[in-house]
């Protein structure tokens, strides 16, 4: 070191010529010792810094590995979920086998999905590690954990909903005696008019469908049909509601009249029924049910405590006497 060399030079001269030095350099406050010490300190810090930087490199590499790991899984899971969604929607929309076959197919998908859950859990594990390491972005994949979560939730909901739809179609088919061919025809019509291809018709689609079947509808009539077919005002016509509407004449169900006739028998032909008769003729639970729900009968010849089974029967079927 040149600077320290100067100091040595001074010492040498002093020694050679026997000059006694005060030891203080008037021109500066820095002693050679200071310089030497500081240089040692600097030298000491270099490897420390190096080490710190190396550690950081390792940390960043580990982070990168986490990113890649997450991405590798996410890039498989994301498309898998999408594919399943599409396949499931095809099962319900396509006109393939019988409803039971559809159901089997859907149940298989359901099992498939249940078995796949472990992959989602693993991804969540990696995601947790990522977040704990303060990794907030990942250029190796377009799927964030949130994307996957949302997709997964949608998938679970879709499969459950679709299975339920098929169950309900089976109920309807059995109750109304609709054949598979008829169901297929309905499906074909429905699909044709479902322009958005989302498994539901909006009112315009439905109207077009009705017109194509020869219904000549005015505004009022169409509005009335819409309230039948979409009573909860969701704005869409489901396949279920569609089938229902198309087969509304063919159900063999109890009617209000039949129930009334039954009550009449129990009431020994009277137009009202008494609490005693109800308790005598019906099991206790049903008797109390009727007693608590029936209104008082208002008529010329009725005793107090007479109950009106006629309006009760109508109300059961939503027919109001008003």
């Amino acid at each position: 070191m040149a600077t320290l060399g100067i100091h040595n030079e001074i010492l040498k001269i002093a020694q050679t010529y026997g000059i006694k030095l005060s030891g203080i350099n008037p021109y500066t406050t820095l002693s050679p010792q200071d310089v030497s010490n500081k240089w040692d300190a600097v030298k000491h810090l270099v490897p420390l810094r190096d080490q710190m930087l190396q550690e950081e490199v390792a940390r960043q590499q580990a982070n990168e590995r986490l990113r890649r790991q997450f991405a590798a899984q996410a890039n498989i899971i994301g498309p898998w979920i999408q594919t399943k969604m599409e396949e499931i929607s095809h099962v319900s929309v396509d006109i393939a086998g019988s409803l039971e076959e559809q159901m089997n197919s859907l149940k298989q998908y359901e099992q498939n999905i249940i078995n796949y859950k472990s992959n989602i859990d693993k991804l969540e594990g990696d995601h947790q590690l990522s977040q704990e390491s303060l990794i907030f972005d990942n250029k190796h994949t377009n799927y964030s954990m949130e994307h996957v979560r949302v997709g997964w939730e949608q998938l679970l909901t879709t499969i459950a909903r679709t299975i339920n739809e098929v169950e309900n179609q089976i109920l309807t088919r059995d109750a109304k005696g609709i054949s598979q061919e008829q169901l297929n025809e309905f499906r074909a019509s429905f699909n044709h008019f479902d322009r958005k291809r989302n498994g539901m018709m909006d009112p315009d689609d439905f109207r077009a469908c009705l017109i194509s079947m020869g219904y000549d509808l005015g505004e009022v009539e169409f509005a009335r049909i819409m309230t039948l077919v979409d009573p909860n005002n969701t704005g869409v016509v489901t396949f279920q509601a569609f089938i229902d509407f198309m087969t509304r004449e063919t159900a063999e169900t109890d009617t209000a009249e039949q129930v009334m006739a039954s009550f009449k028998i129990l009431a020994s032909d009277k137009n009202y029924i008494t609490v005693e008769e109800l308790r005598r003729e019906l099991p206790p639970e049903q008797a109390e049910y009727c007693i608590s729900r029936m209104t008082r009968y208002i008529g010329a010849d009725s005793p107090s405590g007479a109950l009106d089974y006629i309006s009760f029967s109508s109300a059961l079927y939503g027919e109001s006497d008003l």
């Binding site: 009617t255 028998i265 020994s268 019906l282």
Partner: protein, 547 residues
């Protein structure tokens, strides 16, 4: 007088009997009409039978002759039995009123195709017609095997078995179970009969029209009485059958209704719970109060992860289940021809959908906010630490400098020392310049800490301020010292120059003075005044020289 005809000793259960029975009828008519025991039995049976029907109209009779005299109760009886309304009775108390009523009754009966034997309004009704009045086909349906073809024993078993066979033809008569085990193969006819009558009265509402002792002890019990009694069984069951069908139908319908109602309640309950959970959870997701440290924020992030992984999935499933329940319920209602389900206010499908949407919106915003905050806090932590380090370094460097710079050591310094001091000061000035950068950096960091809203920014600002103030002061002091040093240098230089000047001048003058002193003190020997005069001018010249 009765004749006993012993035909068989065992009971036959085939229909061959009917012909014989019919043949015997007229014979019995004649014989039995005169028997008081028979009449008593008849009366009892008949009264009880009438009452079993009259009960439905809310009335009873005690004595046949008396109570049917005015025809009112008779008409009532007929109404009950036939299920039809008779013309309105005359309510007068006069005999002709009563006759009119009874006639109305009789007309009614005739209109039903029943042959009335030896009665008129003025007489009484016999027993037989009442039996006929009850739905004609009942005789055919009833699997009737006259127990009288038995040797005088009347085993209670026959009635019971007959009833059993009638019972067996009904589907789910619950009474069978409790009765049949009690009908043993004992030979206790009296016991069996009484048991049977008891059960019939209790469970089938058939009053005891027969007397067990009478029947057993009478060699030929009255067939008609027994038939009437048995026909009550038939009607109990037939009527019961019809009623049962009606009741079953009603139960089925009500069952469907109850099931539907249960599903509706379930929907409402699940909807309430889900909406409540959403109401509780949404504020937590919307809360954006920042935390101070990164550790706290990371905990919040962890909580959010737990929410997404553990708390939300079951709710997603609940929502799905709610939807499914709703759809299934609507389907079932449609299929069973019931009106569609309208959930109560606030629990409609649309309400739930929009609440759920609100939740998911809040969720999305929340995670983004968490990540932004964590990034911000990470940078802040880093900057704060950097500030601390730099500020400390600077403060260490700056400590004592003020004092040094304020020294007045130049006041007692020599020129050489001043020059050395100036060298040192130059070194210090370059040191100061080198630190200018650092101070600017410190200020810049403090600025960023302010912009990023560091929680302890007040302390930072204070420290930064004191550093800057000191820095300014040091700058000023440095300047001042330089001036002082330079000034002092100049002065000392001037003094030095003057010293030199003095030295330059004083030396030769000193020499001259010393010469003059010697001269002035020189030994002189003079011989002339002229020699003295030249010495005097010489010393006077010295005088003038000094001025």
């Amino acid at each position: 007088m009765m004749t006993m005809t012993q035909v068989e000793t065992t009971v036959h259960y085939d229909n061959g009997y009917e012909d014989e029975y019919m043949l015997q009828e007229d014979e019995w008519d004649r014989d039995m009409l005169l028997d008081p025991a028979w009449e008593q039995q008849q009366r009892k049976t008949f009264t009880a039978w009438c009452n079993s029907h009259l009960r439905k109209a809310g009335t009873q009779i005690e004595n046949i002759e008396e109570d049917f005299r005015n025809g009112l109760k008779l008409m009532l009886l007929l109404e009950v039995i036939s299920g039809e309304r008779l013309p309105k009775p005359d309510r007068g108390k006069m005999r002709f009123h009563k006759i009119a009523n009874v006639n109305k009754a009789l007309e009614f009966i005739t209109s039903k195709g029943v042959k009335l034997v030896s009665i008129g309004a003025e007489g009484g009704l016999t027993f037989r017609d009442c039996g006929r009045e009850c739905k004609d086909d009942s005789w055919n349906d009833l699997d009737y095997h006259p127990p009288l073809r038995h040797s005088g024993h009347f085993s209670g078993r026959n009635i019971c078995q007959r009833r059993s066979s009638a019972v067996v033809s009904e589907k789910d008569c619950p009474l069978q179970e409790c009765q049949c085990p009690k009908l043993p193969c004992q030979d206790d006819p009296l016991g069996n009969l009484n048991l049977a009558f008891d059960i019939a009265e209790k469970h089938l509402d058939i009053p005891k029209m027969l007397d067990a002792e009478d029947i057993i002890n009478t060699p030929k019990p009255d067939e008609r009485a027994i038939m009437t009694y048995v026909s009550c069984f038939y009607h109990a069951f037939a009527g019961a059958e019809q009623a049962e069908t009606a009741a079953n139908r009603i139960c089925k319908v009500l069952g469907v209704n109850q099931e539907n109602e249960k599903m509706m309640e379930e929907y409402e309950r699940l909807a309430s719970e889900l909406l409540e959970w959403i109401r509780r959870t949404t504020p937590w997701l919307e809360n954006r109060t920042p935390e101070k440290t990164m550790a706290e924020m990371q905990r919040k992030l962890e909580d959010f992860r737990d929410y997404r992984r553990q708390h939300k999935p079951p709710k997603v499933q609940e929502k799905c289940q709610l939807e499914i329940n709703f759809n299934t319920l609507q389907t079932k209602l449609r299929i069973s021809n019931r009106p569609a389900f309208m959930p109560s206010e606030g629990k409609m499908v649309s309400d739930i959908a929009s609440a759920w949407q609100g939740l998911e919106q809040a969720e999305k915003g929340y995670e983004e906010w968490l990540l932004t905050e964590i990034r911000r806090l990470e940078r802040l932590d880093h900057l704060a630490e950097k500030f601390r380090q730099k500020a400390t370094n600077h403060e260490n460097w700056a400590s004592g400098k003020e004092l040094i710079l304020s020294q007045k050591d130049y006041e007692t310094a020599t020129l050489i020392e001043i020059r050395a001091l100036l060298r040192k000061h130059e070194a210090f000035e370059s040191d100061l310049a080198a630190h200018q950068d650092r101070v600017e950096q410190i200020a810049a960091i403090a600025q960023e800490l302010n912009e990023l809203d560091y929680h302890d920014v007040a302390a930072v600002n204070q420290r930064c301020q004191s550093i800057c103030d000191l820095w300014d002061k040091l700058g000023t002091l440095t300047q001042k010292r330089r001036e002082s040093l330079e000034r002092t240098e100049k002065l000392l230089e001037t003094i030095d120059q003057l010293f030199l000047e003095f030295a330059k001048r004083s030396a030769p003058f000193n020499n001259w003075m010393e010469g003059a002193m010697e001269d002035l003190q020189d030994m002189f020997i003079v011989h002339t005044t002229e020699e003295v005069q030249s010495l005097i001018s010489g010393s006077r010249a010295v005088q003038s020289y000094s001025t």
